[in-house]
């Protein structure tokens, strides 16, 4: 086989030329993922949002209410930006998005507290913005409980109790929360670890499908097939090889970015995650080839691949857990390569447990990779018969 216009490497060279001739490939393989990598990691660079804007409505305006407010402002995640005169003014500020929540201290709080008649203070948060709302709630709730305990503690001290006894009385059972592997509750760790590969998967699915079907559209598929001696498997694998290399490089970049530069939890070393990322790319390519072969229309197969890529983000369950979804969608989640990558990441990077626990997830990714073996013969048929329809 001395002829240099045939065989695996000839197709690889041809594909590199094709990719080079269209800026579209560069944009979608390198620029788009790189943009998202930088975007997500810098966007949430703070890890946990600090100094969230909040307000207060102090109708009481007494010693007690002012001491509550002073303490509230000393929390790291809450910043009291303004004091409002009335409840409706604060609500309007919330609707204007100036604040995410406010503390409401009604008139007579001190009077009731000092005469032991149990006043109520209220916490309002705008749950339209779920993350800031939840975080503010945590601070404000602690604050409210502390304010209450402070009053109670004074009474106990006055009765002669020491601090140990006082706390033993005020809070007999306390919770000690251990957030395993992410004790800072870092949102960047929580979201970027799956968001970056998710963008990559989306691009792999689309680029793979697009590049195969443009051969059909541009009527170059016969030439392509003949270069592989009519072996569709050889034709496809050679064509995708340069893309695999490029995407692997992108995967390496995000892995180095996350675990090297940003120092995210990586409790089982680099290799299991590198293997997972590499297998994720191959699995996505396999899935895209499967779709491209099954549906002999550029637009429809590309649409399906796009849908799969976009849908894999919510359905992989990294933000909203799969167990909270309806049963039908729980079953559907098994058909997304990203879901398995996410499970591997939880085991290998976050929790750092033995590879044996994740073995089946790796196998599932492998299954996606060899999925096209079932229908790739259809692609060969299409290559010889296909005509492009708008």
């Amino acid at each position: 086989m001395a002829n240099k216009n045939f065989g695996f490497w000839a197709i690889v060279r041809r594909e590199v030329r094709r990719m080079h001739s269209r800026p579209l490939y560069g944009l979608s393989i390198i620029c788009a993922p790189l943009f998202c990598f930088i975007f997500f990691t810098t966007l949430m660079g703070e890890g946990l949002p600090q100094s969230l804007p909040a307000g207060v409505v102090d109708e009481d305006n007494t010693l007690v209410s002012r001491s509550i407010l002073r303490n509230l402002d000393s929390y790291q995640q809450t910043e009291i930006i303004k004091q409002y005169a009335s409840f409706s003014e604060a609500r309007e500020a919330m609707q204007k998005n100036e604040i995410y929540g406010f503390f409401y201290i009604p008139r007579g709080t001190q009077e009731l507290a000092s005469s032991q008649r149990q006043p109520t203070i209220s916490i309002y948060t705008n749950a339209t913005y779920l993350i800031p709302s939840s975080l503010l709630y945590r601070d404000m709730k602690t604050m409210a409980v502390m304010a209450s305990a402070a009053v109670g503690r004074e009474v106990l001290f006055a009765k002669g109790a020491n601090l140990d006894q006082a706390m033993g009385f005020l809070q007999p059972i306390q919770m000690d929360m251990h957030a395993l592997s992410n004790p800072w509750l870092n949102y960047n760790v929580y979201l970027s670890n799956t968001m970056l590969p998710a963008v990559l998967v989306l691009m792999v699915l689309m680029v793979t499908c697009f590049s195969i079907h443009t051969e059909l559209k541009d009527d170059t598929a016969r030439e392509w097939m003949s270069m592989a001696n009519d072996s569709v498997l050889k034709a496809v694998s050679a064509k995708l090889f340069p893309q695999t290399m490029m995407f692997s490089l992108m995967a390496l970049i995000y892995l180095v970015l996350l675990y090297g530069l940003l120092g995210f939890p990586l409790n089982n070393g680099f290799w299991p995650m590198l293997l997972a990322a590499e297998m994720l790319i191959l699995a996505s390519q396999g899935f895209a080839v499967f779709i491209a072969s099954a549906i002999p229309s550029l637009r429809w197969s590309l649409s399906l691949c796009t849908l799969w890529g976009v849908l894999s983000i919510p359905i992989s369950g990294f933000s909203f857990p799969v167990m909270g979804m309806p049963a039908a969608l729980q079953a559907l989640s098994y058909l997304f390569p990203l879901r398995y990558y996410f499970l591997i990441y939880v085991d290998q990077a976050l929790n750092g447990i033995g590879m044996v626990y994740s073995a089946w997830f790796y196998v599932a990714l492998l299954a996606f990779t060899i999925l096209p073996l079932t229908d790739i013969w259809m692609l060969r048929k299409a290559a010889y018969k296909y005509t492009y329809l708008i």
Binding site: A32, Q118, S133, I173, M175, V199, L311, S319, G324, I390
Partner: protein, 417 residues
């Protein structure tokens, strides 16, 4: 007559939309089905009954009471009582449980002695909702039991005195506008708005791609009209007509299907959505000029949905974004529209509450209209110029020659080596 021309363009554009299945998919089918799928995905709002395991080293009446009450909360479900930490950890590793409650052996003794006893919680951090469920479930139980314990210690006082003693200042929590504090109400409005913008971008650029393919094949388009404003206006009118229906379905019916809060008032909603649609339409037309063929729009624009939803600040708060991203986010209609619509629809804001966003959308409409006019005019001129095709043909030939020459040089170099 410019008005007649405009209607003429509009009619043609509508016909083109209807006859092109690819565009119809973006304008009708995706907006029809995708929101349903997405809203259905989050219809659970929150996670309930998170499976947890328990290691009870105390095995006393109090520890059992604590666990029984934890199991009874809507947040948690105890799936196994383990003999030791090893067994519990194993269950967590196999994804059977997402949390671990450990009660130390001295738990009851400490309580009886009147000191503070500790319950240890361990949480799998693969999802923050597990953390939230475990913490809020157990906190609820501990607050409840704390009161009981205090009550028994305060025997001799009246019930009311005990109440005041244990909690001198009561507090209450109100999650406004999103009663279940759930994912659906928080995320779906953003997804709906983004969907409108993205399908417009994809559909319009697919049409532009088709036009470009035809132009490359030698057809000249749009030369029969007197000026580019009528062409642009006509196109915008056609899209606005289609998206009037699409937006009504997506923004009003979909939330209604899923019983999401809908506090908007019609004048506010219309006055806000019209500039959003106009801004999106001219935004789409502007960027569609960069699309060379039908299908490249997928590769170029779909991925942007992911960063765009984050840029809006609906998830990660705007106040905590780096300034650069906050500035870049201003370019996109979706940023303002998501913020505005979330507050109009979910929080019942009025037009004066969202006037900043509304103004921003009108400014975007003007800017993108001017931009698209500028680009369109250049293109239109080059098409109408005598011999435009000749210039294009020459340019392609020169490029091809250069490519061939480069290849030859490379070949020679290789031979020399």
């Amino acid at each position: 007559m410019w008005f007649k021309d405009m209607l003429d363009v509009s009619g043609k554009e509508l016909r083109k939309t209807v006859s092109d299945t690819g565009v119809l998919v973006f304008f009708i089918i995706v907006p029809l089905l995708y929101p349903l799928l997405y809203a259905y995905l989050y219809s659970g709002e929150v996670v309930r009954e998170v499976p947890v395991v328990v290691v009870d080293e105390c095995r006393s009446a109090t520890s059992r009471e604590f666990l029984r009450k934890a199991d009874a909360t809507p947040d948690l479900k105890i799936i196994s009582y383990c003999a030791d930490m090893e067994e519990a950890r194993n269950l967590m590793h196999r994804h059977k449980a997402y949390g671990l409650i450990q009660i130390p052996s001295e738990f009851e003794g400490t309580l009886v002695a009147g000191r503070q006893a500790t319950v240890n919680l361990y949480c799998d951090m693969s999802g923050l909702l597990y953390y939230k469920a475990l913490l809020s479930g157990c906190t609820m139980v501990s607050l409840d039991m704390n009161r009981d314990i205090q009550m028994t210690r305060l025997s001799g006082l009246s019930d009311w005195e005990k109440d005041v003693m244990t909690m001198p200042i009561e507090n209450e929590y109100v999650t406004m506008f999103n009663p279940a504090n759930g994912f659906q109400v928080f995320l779906i409005p953003a997804v709906l708005i983004l969907l409108l913008q993205q399908t417009l971008v994809l559909g319009v650029s697919m049409m532009a791609g088709t036009e470009n393919e035809k132009r490359r094949a030698g057809m000249v388009l749009g030369s029969e009209y007197s000026n580019p404003i009528t062409v642009l206006g006509g196109k915008a009118l056609a899209y606005l007509l289609v998206y009037g229906f699409t937006a009504t379905y997506v923004l009003c019916l979909v939330p209604w299907f899923f019983h999401m809060p809908q506090l908007w008032q019609l004048p506010t909603l219309v006055a806000f959505i019209v500039p959003f649609l106009l801004a999106s339409i001219f935004f789409s037309i502007t960027i569609s000029f960069f699309v060379r063929d039908r299908e490249s729009c997928f590769l170029l624009f779909v991925f942007a949905s992911v960063p765009l939803i984050f840029m809006s600040g609906i998830s990660w708060p705007t106040s905590n974004m780096p300034v650069a991203w906050r500035v870049i986010a201003q370019i996109f209609p979706s940023t303002h529209a998501i913020n505005g619509f979330a507050r109009i629809g979910t929080a019942g804001a009025l037009l004066q509450d969202v006037r900043v966003e509304c103004l921003a959308l009108w400014i975007q409409t003007a800017v993108y209209f001017m931009l698209s006019l500028l680009i369109f005019e250049r293109m239109y001129r080059s098409d109408k110029m005598p011999g435009a095709e000749f210039v294009i043909a020459m340019r392609t030939r020169v490029r091809k020659n250069i490519r061939v020459a480069k290849r030859d040089i490379k070949g020679k170099l290789r031979i020399e080596k």
